[in-house]
Structure formats: C-alpha cells, structure tokens
Amino acid sequence: MLFSSITFLYYFLPWALLFYFLSGRYKNLVLFLTSLVFYAWGEPIYVFLMVFLTGIGYIFGILAEKYRESVWKKYLVGISVAAALFILGYFKYADFVVENVARVTGSAWELPGIVLPIGISFYTFQMISYVIDVGRGQKAQKNFISLAAYISMFPQLVAGPIVRYSHIEGQLEQRIHSKDMIAGGIGRFIAGLSKKVVIANTLGELTQNVLDSGQPSLLLGWLYGVAGAMQIYFDFSGYSDMAIGLGEILGFHFPENFNYPFISRSVAEFWRRWHMSLGNWFRDYLYIPLGGSRVSFPKYIRNICLVWLATGIWHGAAWNFVFWGLFFVPFFILEKLWLGKKLENSRILSRCYLLFVIIVSFLIFRVEHMEEVLYWTGMMFGRGVPFSTREALFFLKDYGGILILAVFGCTPGAKHLYVKMKSTETGAKVLDVLWPVCLGVMLFIDTAYLVNSSYNPFLYFRF
C-alpha cells in the first residue's frame, strides 16, 4: 500500500489510527496488526517472510543477550546477520548474480525470476541493526509483539527512514501523545504527501515527456538532468516526511532523513544531508568497524570503496547502481586531499560543482545502460544538438511553475519563513488561522491529484 493512494488515505489510515488510540495498553499489538495489513496489501505472500525475519531477530536477540559474556555471542549475532543478509541477497540479488555469472561463463542458465518483496532492504537492515546492538550491550526485547511492532511499523516499513532499535526502545515501552506532536505529525505528513504527489509526480511526468521526445537539445538535456534529480529528492524526502509525520502521530520520534541536501557545497556534505539514516547505518555498521578514516591511506580508500559499493548495491541489483555508488569515491578522496578546502573559498563554485556532480550521479542512478549517461551528459554540453527546440521550450514553459516550486522547495526558504513568522506576535496569530487552513487545502489538492491519476479517457463511449 502506498501512502500516496486513496486506499491508504481514506480506507486505511483513519481507522488504523482510531483503533490505535482506542487500544489503551495494546497499542503495540494494534500497530503490529495494522502494519501486517498494510504490508500484506502489497505483499500478501511475503508478509510471512517479514514475520519470519522478525522471529529470527527475536530469538537471536534473546540468545545474544543471554550469551553476551561468552564467545557464543559473536556466533549468534553472526548467524542472525548472515541469515538476514542471505534472505536479502537471495530475493534482491539472485537474478543479478545468475545473469552475470551466466554472461561471464557463457552458460545458458535461466534466470530464477525471483520477485523482490517490497521494503525488504529496510526491514532487513532494521533487524540486523537490532541484533548487532543487542550484541554490543543493548537490552534485548523480550516481548515479541513490541519487537514486531518496531520492525514492521507501517510508517517506515517500505521506504524508511531506517530506525535503530536503540533510538526507539524507550518509545516502544512508553510513548507520550500530545496535541502538538500529533498536529505536528499531521502537518509533516501532509507536507510530505504534497512533495510526493504534486512535485515529484509532476517532475516524473516531465522526465517521461523528455524521454519520449524525439528532439534532443541542450535545454532538453538539462531539463532531464535537473528534473530527474529533483524528482528523486522529492519522491524520497516526501516519503520520509510522511513516515516521520505518521511516526509523530503514533508517538514516535523518527530520525530525520534529509536536510536540504541540494544546498551542500561538497559531496561529503551532501551525503551528510541525503538519506541520513542509511548513511549513518553504513557508517556505524561498516565504515567504523573497518577503521573509518583513522587508518592508513590505502586502507581508507579500501573502506570508502567498500562502503560506497555496499551503498550502491543496497539501492538495486544492477550495474548502474554499483557504478553510482562507486562514482562518489573519487570525489570523497579528492575533497579529503585538497578539493574540500578549495570549495570552502567559493560558495557559488562549490554549489555549482556539487549540483553538477549530483545531477550526473542521478543520471547514472536512473539509466538501464551506461551509454545513456554519456548520451545525456553529451546533450547537456550541447554535443551535436541545438541549444533548444520548440518542444524543449514548451516543456520549460509547461513545467516552469513546478520547476520553480521545486527549486524553492530544495532550499530551507519556506522553513525559515515559517520560523520567522512564528517568532513574531502578529505572524504567530496569522499562522494560527492560516496553517490549519493551508493544511486542509493542501490535503484537498493532493486528493485531487490522486483522483486524477486514474484519469483514463476515451473519445467515444466504451460500452
């Protein structure tokens, strides 16, 4: 079930929340059951896989705590992590591995055609982080329902943010529900829904129109690059906002996942602002255990390569994701050696540098074949194409409004405006009235977009 769907907004969410708030001390059970319904809606079979993985985490968590002082702890944690990675590897990477081995060896193996269960990358990582944290001293969760509620929690189950068990343990046992938190969560959810439905989906329409266009030009190339990068941002950050907002409504504080990454001035800064929960996960469970940057330079390069290889592969089982992850490695190294200091001297140059690197990186992220990256970057530099065509200019005019809104939304401008208004007496009074109305209007507009998404006209009546 998608958050941005009529089914979720008007058939699932109100009633799930109503049962949740009426359930008294059974909130975790209701949360777990509603999350199962939520997940089973998209994966009626693989919901059992998620429960199975939760069971592994539960059993091995208890065992790891029991044998924490003995050598068995390492094996118990290792077995559960291996089991989780095996399951993830099988469902996500089996086809990719078989395809490439067959290509290299020349065998005519048939692809297993394994279906990728939704959200498996997220809930597997949450389970792994739970078991590792228990191994490191975290108290194990004895209540299966509480652990299951944590792993399967519908706000962050399918698209994050990746929530560490240690972060949420106290909140599982006791949560404070306040009007402010619930109202804040509602606002955050609706803002995220608008980002996804109004901005991201419209930018997706633009990128598709560009792909369908038969008239390449420099302007078309930049439209694709810029719109494509912003589409990914608003799609993902919109979903994160919805997840965090839903978490707040339910009484949980989830970690932030995005912090205006496009205002960064270096690749290193970008990755401190983009998909922060994933970056932190790899930092804590892979990079630091390998030694991080406090090792010799060759080992530092090794660590960086491994982390970014893992980051790329985590995003998808295809070579473009591998290249995408590794694409950042030279920039990290260059910035560490000398480029970082140079970038600090010029805001404009540093931002232009970062934006160009990110636009190219997202081209790699989106393509099926690497030649397409060369095609689009060549177009962006005007190689063999005119500056513009009538069609490209039309796209710019047609989507100009949404592009301006998206660019503004990439900056903290709106947030600063809100904070500034709230800090004054008049502004606070105006917001008191305006904010609820704005949220209501945004919700209606988002609903209008969702209703229109099923638009499927015919010229003549179809009976």
Binding site: I6, T7, L9, Y10, Y11, L13, P14, W15, L18, W41, G42, P44, I45, K179, D180, I182, A183, G184, I186, G187, I190, D212, G214, R390, E391, L393, F394, K397, D398, Y399, G401, I402, L405, A428, K429, D432, W435, P436, V437, L439, G440, L443, F444, I445, T447, A448, Y449, V451, N452, S453, S454, Y455, N456, P457, F458, L459, Y460, F461, R462, F463
Partner: protein
C-alpha cells in the same frame, strides 16, 4: 495558548476531512460511468482467496477507490484549475486551451499506426476499388491552426500527410482541405467540426469528385449547451458550444438505413434524442455505426459514393447526399475489411477515404 489552539484546529480539521471522506467513500452509491471520460468506472473487485493471494484484489481495489471517489469530477476540476492557474501549466491531461479552444496535444507521429491505416486503405483499393475513381482527403485537427501561433509544439503535418499521399499516389486522387478550413470550423470544446460551417469543405470535395452542390439548407440549433469531449477531459471552466445542424426539404427526404444489427433499419438523419444525450455530436447519423446508407430519392443522377470514414463523416455525408443517389458510409474500425464486399456494392461508385488526422495517428 496560540500554539495549542493551532494544534487543536489542525487535528480537528484534518480529522474531519479524513473521517468524513472515508465514510463518504464507503457509503456513497457507486457510479456506473464517467461522462467526462466516456467509460465505465471500476466496480468493487471480487474478494476471494485467489484474488487476494495473487494481489489482483488490491490492484483492482486501488482503481475502484480512485474511480468511485466522492465528487470525483469536482476533484478533477480542482486538479486542473490548480495546475493551470496556480502552477501555470500549459496543458492538463494532455489537453491545452488557447484562444478559447481546447485541443489535445499531438506532437509525435505514430508511424506504426499511420502505416496500419495506409495498408488498410491500400487493401480496400486493391480488393474492392480497382476500377473505381478513388479519392483521399485528410482532415487537419485544431492543432494545425492553433499550435504554431500559440507556441505549442506540433506534429510535422507535411511529413505525416506526405506518408499517405505518397502511399496512395497510384490509387487515389488527393483532395486537400487545409485551405478551406480554419479554426472557426471547429467546436471549441470538441475535436469535431461544425456542420453549419462545412459548405466550403463540401464544395471542395464535391468539386474534386465531379459533382455540384447548391447547399439548400437552413440552420437549426439544439437548445442545450454542447459540452464536447475536451470539456470533460480538460476539466477546466470552458464556455460550452452550440450544436447546430443543417436542414431543409432535401434532408427531410433523405433515407438513412443502418445495417449494424444485421437487418436494415431506417434511422433519422439527425437523432434529436442523442442531441440531448451524453455525446451530443452523435446526433449526426446516430453516432458510431459500421455500415450506413443515405439514399436521395430526389437525386438528378445515378451516381453512388462509398465513403470510408470516421465520425467527421457523420456530419459531412448529409451535405454530399445532394450530389449522389446513394452514399454508403463504412467505418472500418467496426467492420472487418475482408467482409466489406459482402455488404457493399462498389460497381461504378466513387470511393472516398475521409479521415481526421488524430484517428490516423492512433
């Protein structure tokens, strides 16, 4: 205090919306079809173990939930108005509005579709009309007149029509219509042309086929607003059109016979019931029919015409009937080409292929 009031207002207002709309979704009577989209709306899917385990129930339920959403047309209008007037989009749902006219953007030539249509025309010519005088005429859409001046991208018309001209150069004589058409010949909210403005078109076609017309008609008007196909699709506040038709002593004598049911059935030239129905343009020859004839008992000659056409032919054919004893109208989208010979006599008849460019490009 202000913050608490603000928080309470947010919770109350949004809860009302979520719960209110949810109850409305579940309680409202289901609607069968969408007039604006001209299709059936999704019904609630079957809830069976097989449907659930396969995921089909969930997929179909998503379609059902969006299709049956309360005030669906109003929300679609909100979407269009927001995109058009707030975000400044130049088109919504691929429909654009300029100079008071709504039209569907047509930018890319669908070469596969065009080739299929060309092959159909050539098949008919080879199979049935080898000895006949064959004519081809292509009707430009409103894009042809609108898009250049208003900055919208447009199809390369010369290249597209050139495909058909080149393909039929040995079998058909081309009668161009671009010079006798302008924007004023078309409805603002519909893709079709206005019958009352077609004297020039009828004259041009008649002249090309060697017949003459006197055009002895008065103009009648349907006293209800005509909301064309683009009105519903654009979902923007547009002024409706006025549906007019041409009538006179001649039109009253024309005999229209429909063969779609298998048996000949006499129908009206103008179906006035349909003029007030879901698609008012269907008043012309009762809409989409596979096979019709129009007989003119007052014809001054024995000439016959076989017209292969789309819906544009429905409003034009009555005007050509003055010059022919019998016009047979065939819509090959609804009849198998291999069986045309069973129903249509091509002996000595003129053959006219008259198609709108949007049909050939889809």
């Amino acid at each position: 205090m202000g913050g608490k009031r603000n928080g309470r207002a947010v919770i109350i207002l949004t809860s009302m919306i979520f719960f209110g709309m949810s109850l409305w979704c579940m309680g409202k009577p289901k609607e069968e079809f969408s007039a604006s989209e001209r299709r059936h709306l999704a019904e609630i899917p079957k809830f069976t173990a097989d449907e659930v385990l396969s995921g089909r129930f969930m997929r179909h339920f998503e379609e059902y939930a969006a299709d049956q959403f309360p005030m669906r047309e109003e929300f679609r209008r909100l979407n269009s108005v927001f995109q058009f007037y707030v975000l400044g989009k130049k088109e919504v749902n691929n429909i654009y509005v300029t100079n008071g006219y709504a039209e569907k953007l047509m930018v890319k030539a669908d070469r596969d579709a065009a080739e299929k249509w060309l092959n159909r025309i050539l098949y008919i010519c080879d199979t049935y009309a080898g000895d006949n005088r064959v004519f081809l005429s292509l009707i430009p859409d409103k894009n042809y007149f609108l898009s250049r001046e208003s900055g919208y991208p447009f199809l390369d018309y010369q290249e597209f029509t050139g495909m058909f001209l080149h393909g039929t150069r040995d079998v058909a004589e081309y009668i161009p219509l671009e010079e006798v058409l302008s924007l004023e010949n078309y409805y603002a909210t519909d893709l079709h042309w206005k019958q009352e403005t077609l004297e020039g078109v009828a004259d041009t076609l008649a002249g090309g086929m060697g017949i003459s017309l006197s055009f002895p008609y008065d103009v009648g008007e349907v006293d209800a607003p005509f909301y064309g196909v683009y009105y519903g699709q654009a979902s923007l506040p547009l002024k409706p059109d006025k549906l007019k038709y041409l009538y006179g002593p001649l039109t009253e004598k024309l005999i229209v016979t429909c063969y779609d049911s298998g048996k000949p059935e006499i129908i009206s030239l103008y179906d006035m019931e349909k003029a007030y129905g879901r698609d008012a343009y269907e008043m012309f020859l009762s809409g989409s029919k596979a096979l019709l004839t129009i007989e003119n008992p007052e014809s001054k000659n024995d000439r016959e015409l076989v017209m292969f056409r789309d819906s544009f032919g429905s409003s034009l054919a009555p005007l050509l009937a003055e010059g022919y004893k019998k016009i047979t109208l065939v819509d090959i989208r609804y009849i198998s080409m291999e069986r045309i010979g069973e129903f249509v006599d091509f002996e000595g008849a003129d053959v006219l292929f008259l198609y709108h460019l949007q049909v050939l490009n889809s």
